[in-house]
Point group: C2
Chain length 671, copies 2
Amino acid sequence: MRRKQLADAIRALAMDAVEKANSGHPGAPMGMADMGEALWRHVLRHNPANPDWPDRDRFVLSNGHASMLLYALLHLTGYDLPMSELANFRQLGSKTPGHPEHGLTPGVEISTGPLGQGIASAVGMALAERLLAREFNRPGFDIVNHSCYVFLGDGCLMEGISHEACSLAGTWGLGKLIAMYDANNISIDGKIDGWFTEDVAARFEAYGWHVARGVDGHDAEALDAAIVQAKGVVDKPSLIVCRTRIGCCSPKEGSSKCHGAPLGAEAVAATRAKMGWNEPPFSVPPAVRAAWDCREKGRKLQAEWDAVFAEYSRTYPDLAAEFERRMRGDLPADWRARVDAAIDGIAAQKESIATRIASKQMLDALAPLMPELLGGAADLTDSVGTFHKLAQRMEKPFQEGNYIAYGVREFAMGAMMNGLALHGGFMPYGGTFLVFSDYAKNAIRLAALMGLRVVWVLTHDSIGVGEDGPTHQPVEQVAGLRLTPGVKVWRPCDATEGAVAWKMALQTRNAPSCLILSRQKLPFVERTPEQLAAIERGGYILRDCKGVPEAVVMASGSEIQLALAAAERLAAGGRRVRVVSLPSVSLFATQDETWRESVLPRAVRARVAVEAGAADIWHAYVGLDGCVVGMRSFGESAPASELFAHFGITVDAVEAALHTSLSNVSAVKGA
Amino acid sequence: MRRKQLADAIRALAMDAVEKANSGHPGAPMGMADMGEALWRHVLRHNPANPDWPDRDRFVLSNGHASMLLYALLHLTGYDLPMSELANFRQLGSKTPGHPEHGLTPGVEISTGPLGQGIASAVGMALAERLLAREFNRPGFDIVNHSCYVFLGDGCLMEGISHEACSLAGTWGLGKLIAMYDANNISIDGKIDGWFTEDVAARFEAYGWHVARGVDGHDAEALDAAIVQAKGVVDKPSLIVCRTRIGCCSPKEGSSKCHGAPLGAEAVAATRAKMGWNEPPFSVPPAVRAAWDCREKGRKLQAEWDAVFAEYSRTYPDLAAEFERRMRGDLPADWRARVDAAIDGIAAQKESIATRIASKQMLDALAPLMPELLGGAADLTDSVGTFHKLAQRMEKPFQEGNYIAYGVREFAMGAMMNGLALHGGFMPYGGTFLVFSDYAKNAIRLAALMGLRVVWVLTHDSIGVGEDGPTHQPVEQVAGLRLTPGVKVWRPCDATEGAVAWKMALQTRNAPSCLILSRQKLPFVERTPEQLAAIERGGYILRDCKGVPEAVVMASGSEIQLALAAAERLAAGGRRVRVVSLPSVSLFATQDETWRESVLPRAVRARVAVEAGAADIWHAYVGLDGCVVGMRSFGESAPASELFAHFGITVDAVEAALHTSLSNVSAVKGA
């Protein structure tokens, strides 16, 4: 069996699927088919029957539009992805969506498509492997010992995140990270010599990578040799520059015309003829199929590992149990009681501290319980309070530690946290200023799309930032994160809510959480035990009036104080005003109708919301007769206390808004 | 006068201002003081009396936290920034905010602080210079001939956007771009050898830059020489690696401790002693002041240029007038009539086309009127329709053209467009898929903060994207952009609204616009001339019922069709439903009360909004009795038509929501 023929099976399936869907990207799978054959049949340590085998090699298709390459590889090597799924490419409910989706398709390690993020997440995966190996391997028991392979294209390398992540990977010397660059000189706008002329190999050497230059990406033996060489370089990540032809073997080979549209029946026929591929669509000859089948090899690989792990479990039973727990992502058995005790402890201090400080206190309490916590920050460690008392910075030679100095690289931090979470064994969290979550937004989005437990510690909320000014003062960021499906946003009003937010973030297995924390001190708020428990609802009555409320004032974070003070003023005037704390608006929205009605009764129409940020989303809670006190512009550079007055985020404003809303309601009733 | 003493004036002022504000960043200004002296006193061609002189050199402080360096330079060289402003550093209403703000302080070319964006915008400025020179210079008349200088630090170089922009600058060979790298080996988390070990010089050489390695950043003559050498390299951008000590001359020199906090009185006194600086705070000796004063030199420089330009105006009067118009940012004199004619032409076609196609048609019409249009796309040219019929791609040797292939670099595209707009002479627009506006979000934000006219062509709106799936289908992006202060968001429902959106974007001088455009065809909607005019209000009645409406259904973009159909169904059942089109919600919100009331009468409480996106912000318009039909999750990979049904964005759903809202209102009235 010629290896070219095995790669042609990928090309044929990619053409067939795109043609049938009348949509998709044939060029990249056809160009990378030989790379796929070299890696997946010969080198990749995987077990198609068990995509969850902990010690499998990881494979990341960073140029995710080449999804048909991955689906073909999964199908041909024996994963549970039948031909019917390939024939259902890009259709509703199929396991073969336009871009790979983790959790949907067996063997898809990560959702890719947004360029550059795959390689960055792969850096996270390779780091996870190294740290887990250091923690769990014992002499004679290399239970963690696998590589991370990445395919990536010109687009990934143009994106800035590739710089951030690959620079770090070089610093860390992640020898088990091997990236294969599909260097075809084509991107969507055509030949790249008009916009991408850098010497990529020299750039990666500047990062400290091993680089194999100019490997023929259609020569299986040359690819083999380059991969073997790369595996031999254990102290540096490797980049294999594979010279390929996009749409290889088709009449449109080498042109951007085969990037993102079906080839068309004529070109498909011509390609089949050129390849000597005489099968009907979605058909693979038995001999080719047999040569591709990796099930037996995979079964053996895992059986060997299983035997080692069984012996390891006998020798180090606690360690083995802990490894299994960590890889499952379970919390420690006694976690809930101990975390609740930590929350009670923070509440009992009754301290008026910045919520970023409360977050650090909670991390101090969590760290002894959860060695899987893997923290870090984008060069703002002291400011964001992510360095807990057991934190140990990963330092040269970068073999161990539980704290990562990511440098000023918010986006790569986000994608790397996604990679750490995907790999398993760690619960990553990372800090930066809230306003710079902008830089990382799409990584947060992908975390939500994949349902990953990563925690963003986003401090320096609102104009409370003060003197650093409008470039550093978030306005629209909290609302923007709340609007992103699946993202759990917490904006605590004091230390207690901050502590609970951490608990919720860690016990939410299938979603990222963003903790929005203040730079400035926030007054401690007294709560009953019931109120303390109710924080986990996302919204609850913080101070109620006597009798049926005439009005409700709701807020989150630093503005709770304004709500409390305004309600008191109205109470002094004989009005009945309820104060509702909504630390997590989106979580509150998912509570049952009874709870929501008990907190915000439909009948109470005089409603005011206060938030020192873009406040439009609060209209969902205050309605047409309510008022929102919020920001309508960017901030200014000045001491924070002056800014709240300057922008009218004040007790006076909340009081006035309550009166306005009360009269709006009277007017409507009178009408 | 020793040059060190001149630099010490900067150090003293930086210390004094940070000390008085009790907030700020002394370390970077003190470390870069000698770089500032070398560049600003000796090389920079500027006229402190006229910060708007078109042919001045541009200066970008990419590491904007070093703002006191810039303020000291502006003050000392003679700009209208008196000492009282330096003494008012970081206070409300001062001209010396925490980070430099363009438009507030004379001589501040760009707002910086979010790291990496300054250098990227500088690439845009340098490109603007080159293209304008090619267009307007004539033999003997180099009316455009200036350099762009950038100071940047380790943080900027860690950020991915520095890679995107500097790779492009290398490809383009922007010889007049000279970046001076404050290489002090320190970032906030400490010595960078734990997270930034790449060979920056080799990296930039790989980009095709000239690099001066290892220049002593405290040796004025060495800096002079490096700058002279860099100016001599006319076919490559230059990076001068300046080895500096953060907080130079203070006891905290070389430590991250002097990065972001006042030095304290004791350290300030020690620094003064070490420098031999015996002045009281905010005082500069007359001799030092005299040596710094660049006013006379600047006056002469501009006078020379003025003379050349006067002669140029006599020789080429039309060209000179056009240059002046372009630099003022005025639209051509007959612009309005001709653009309105173009809109009428598009409306008269009555074509049901994708709004991305309508956008291209409008560009075809605008291009002959506006040579200042400088388009581009992030490697999606054909998909986003940004290449109009007069577009000419900038190609090797990258000296001319009106269309930029940015490559897959959304963030750099955004920051470069900001730089092009700041430089003047161009009206930049750039296209990408809406979902990838995430990558560029903070550049859009900075455009809004600076009030820059840049136009984002954001196509492939909503689940209408179809088969590419959830990674490519925007959900929260439109809402997120609407929430960003100052950003003008348009989501047109057909070709006519799309054409008007372009008109509005170009005539909005002081804000960025985002045009949210469909991949799929949208049916043409008939309008009266009054309705056509009303599009410019952002929201208007598209179809009214007979008599007072019982309910209003509002929508934007592709969902207008659902609103129209649902309203028709209810009309068939005898109900009175008004359909309101809101192509620009934020613009509608700024209309006078009379207009808003005429479109959405307060008394009509049965309200439904439809949008195939995160729809929470629509509650501001529908209230507690209204209903919103929108997305609550990410999308799926499937043909677009199936997705609208799958996610319940349908006429049936809108019809049901109208009935629900009507009964909500009845229930409230009955209560």
